[in-house]
């Protein structure tokens, strides 16, 4: 097959399309040596967003002669335009990007991001970001995560757990948080016996992520580090019809059949599942720390949280990453910006707000509940038991898994049928 470069391809398309591309790039980017452009998509009200505002203050104080231009975009907009934007001539100096082979991996392997190895050594970032938190910061030549050069630096982490309604647990006579999967199922039987729906979930292909997270949490619960790493980093052949994959998926089907997760989930989004939990229509909600502030603000009942009981590994990963575009004109400033976001002032502020900082001091958190949340997270990171998110390894995986979650939730597909389809999609996707 004949290969031609993008430049050659565009050459044949006439000046107009080139102009259009350049205009698109200029519009979203800054440039010039006295102007430092940061392109990111965190909401300024989130803990991370607030931390970064603090970082801008510190950065400006350190570099009074530099004009700092903080540009706000959205996650989807950047995901879709990153390749075009970063291959233009005028690019931002530092960007926030999504983890995973389908996103960061492609940008890295296509030479659009600068390898950060020297800066990592110089600033000692590998001391702050290590283990599973560093896994999606490195990509090899093919854009596969887990090894190779550093291309991104995360600031925060995230993990998935169950929010639970303490009143409903008490009503069902559950006095202690379950300690393993068997006692968890017993607890859910007790909830059902008193007429309570155990888990609020969702499976719409449009934002209905809860079912996918429950399924993968159940796989993670019985998986070993090697099982997950083989799957995530495309190492050894993965046999989905065995071990934790098979057991977890079958257990997931049992949960559907037993009605632990309710019915009619195919049309529900995570927002609807959250509202159902908040309006006390279910005893538990599986979600990550991104919902912590919301639950705290809106729940009118006594609540708590726990990780999947007895799980060997649990869902979670580092947050999104800072990267330096290969064509950035201010790379040294970009490294200094990343260093600023990892500074104690910024990290401890993120921690205070419940943002799970990677280099913060948990002891400085004054609020007990936020401190508990952060301590749990520190424990799983230290034990290296995070299993990441299931859609990272293959482009298009999110869509694929979501469709099958719907089919299983609608009882139109069995665990075995799903696992066969999963094997086929994964094998094909990882070969390309």
């Amino acid at each position: 097959m004949r290969s031609i470069s993008r430049r050659q391809a565009l050459g044949g398309l006439g000046a107009l399309s080139l102009t259009a591309l350049t205009l698109t790039a200029c519009k979203a980017a800054g440039g010039g040596s006295d102007k430092f452009t940061i392109l990111q998509y965190e909401d300024p009200t989130t803990p991370q967003g607030q931390g970064w505002q603090k970082a801008v203050e510190l950065f400006k104080a350190k570099h009074p002669d530099v004009t700092v231009d903080v540009q706000q975009t959205s996650f989807d907009a950047f995901r879709q335009n990153a390749k075009i934007l970063l291959s233009g001539n005028t690019v931002p100096d530092v960007v926030e990007f999504n983890k995973g082979n389908a996103d960061g991996g492609q940008l890295a392997s296509q030479g659009l991001l600068e390898p950060l190895n020297d800066a990592v050594t110089k600033f000692g970032w590998d001391k702050k970001v290590s283990g599973s938190m560093a896994a999606f910061a490195k990509y090899d030549e093919e854009g596969k995560a887990g090894s190779g050069d550093w291309y991104g630096i995360p600031n925060v982490g995230e993990y998935v757990y169950f929010y639970y309604n303490k009143t409903k647990f008490a009503k069902a006579g559950i006095s202690e948080i379950p300690t393993d999967l068997a006692s968890f199922e017993d607890a859910m039987d007790k909830l059902q016996a008193v007429g309570e729906l155990p888990i609020s979930s969702s499976a719409s292909t449009s934002q209905g992520f809860n079912q996918m997270w429950i399924w993968y949490s159940l796989v993670s619960a019985e998986a070993s580090r090697k099982d997950i790493d083989d799957f995530m980093f495309i190492r050894d052949q993965v046999n989905f019809n065995s071990g934790a994959w098979k057991d977890g998926t079958e257990r997931f089907q049992q949960w559907i059949d037993k009605g632990y997760i309710g019915s009619q989930l195919g049309g529900l989004s995570f927002e609807q599942a959250t509202v159902n939990f908040l309006s006390e229509k279910a005893a538990m909600l599986p979600w990550n720390n991104g919902m912590f502030a919301r639950i705290r603000e809106d729940a009118s009942f006594d609540w708590g949280f726990f990780i999947m009981p007895g799980a060997q590994l649990s869902m979670g990963s580092s947050g999104h990453l800072w990267g330096v575009p290969a064509k950035s004109k201010n790379k040294d400033l970009a490294y200094d910006w990343i260093e600023t976001t990892l500074s104690p002032e910024v990290q401890n502020l993120i921690g205070q707000k419940g943002g799970l900082p990677l280099a913060g001091d948990t002891e400085t958190i004054s609020d007990p509940l936020t401190k508990e949340l952060t301590e749990r997270f520190d424990e799983v990171v230290k034990a290296d038991t995070l299993s990441f998110y299931p859609d990272y390894p293959v482009p298009g995986f999110l869509d694929f898994i979501q469709n099958h979650m719907q089919a299983m939730s609608n009882k139109n597909e069995s665990a075995d049928e799903y696992l066969d389809a999963l094997q086929e999609f994964y094998d094909k996707g990882t070969k390309d």
């Binding site: 499976a203 009619q264 049309g267």
Partner: protein, 301 residues
């Protein structure tokens, strides 16, 4: 004679200068991107700075055998029913009712107020309308199922059941669309000379007969425009699918434009996505051309 004609013959060449901006605009916004799209459809390409691999007509031959694409094309028929056929018929009947009965009995202000309420969904941002409907159709707490529950019935999972979801999407689209034909038809009906109705009434024609024999033929040009524009809109419907179902459940509501989008952005198959877009553009051109040709023939008759 020839001297007299000369200036008029020369004049059109000056007009070309005025058409130049439109021509440049068309080239920049339509022709070049469309040409680029066709060009990309002959490659295997992940997008961005990734290398492009020449793929000949392979994307098109894959498309012919792709059941998901044919399924999406079949779903377009449902979109035509929901955006063209049902709203046009309802819009026509409502327009007649508002202009004739309500307008005459309660005054034109009431009629215009009602027209505005029917038109409201058209000016609502599609994202807002989509989220609103996803709540209305929520199986547990949605308005429809709460109503059914109060009547002692268990409502279905409107957007989650693969046998039902496409009809639920159609329901929202009908609601969204009705205002458009209604407004155009009401404006068109105001053109009809009231004396025609009076004469027909004197001849003993009832309301229905007047509607069929006077109103409908008079507003035929507007009907054609409504049908043509709505058909094109139906074939490229995208946002409601993205917001309401994301193509699910189980792929039952995928439409061609959404399928192309998924290939572009989710699966990083830019060449294949371009092939889908090219085929759909050609289908839309062909259908629009056929309708225009048919309309011309009707006019000549």
């Amino acid at each position: 004679m020839s001297k007299g004609l000369a200036p008029t013959l020369r004049r059109p060449s000056g007009y070309w200068l005025y058409l130049l901006p439109i021509f440049i605009g068309f080239l920049a916004v339509v022709a070049v991107p469309f040409g680029t799209n066709i060009y990309f459809s002959f490659f295997r390409w992940k997008g961005g700075a990734a290398p492009m691999h020449w793929n000949g007509l392979n994307n098109y031959s894959t498309l012919l055998a792709d059941t998901e694409f044919w399924n999406s094309l079949r779903n377009s028929i449902f979109m035509v029913i929901a955006i063209v056929i049902i709203p046009t018929v309802i819009g026509l009947l409502l327009a007649a009712l508002l202009t004739d009965t309500i307008g005459r009995r309660f005054g034109p202000r009431i009629a215009s107020f009602l027209r505005a309420t029917y038109y409201l969904p058209q000016i609502l941002p599609i994202a807002v309308a989509g989220f609103m409907w996803s709540w209305i159709l929520d199986p547990a707490n949605g308005a429809i199922n709460t109503l059914l529950h109060s009547l002692g019935m268990d409502g279905p999972d409107w957007l989650g059941n693969p046998d039902l979801a496409i009809y639920s999407v159609m329901l929202m689209l009908i609601w969204l669309q009705i205002g458009y034909p209604l407004v155009i038809f009401m404006a068109a009906l105001s053109r009809v000379d009231p004396e025609l109705y009076e004469a027909a009434a004197l001849d003993g024609a009832g309301k229905w007969r007047q509607f069929v024999a006077i109103s409908m033929p008079t507003i035929r040009p507007e009907t054609f425009i409504v049908v043509l524009t709505a058909t094109v809109a139906a074939l490229k419907v995208f946002a409601p699918i993205l917001i309401l179902t994301g193509g699910g459940p189980e792929g039952s509501t995928v439409v061609p434009s959404f399928y192309a989008y998924r290939n572009f952005f989710e699966l990083s198959q830019v060449g294949y996505g371009s092939a889908i877009s090219t085929v759909m553009a050609l289908v839309i051109f062909a259908i629009a051309a056929l309708m225009l040709w048919w309309q011309r023939r009707q006019e000549i008759r």
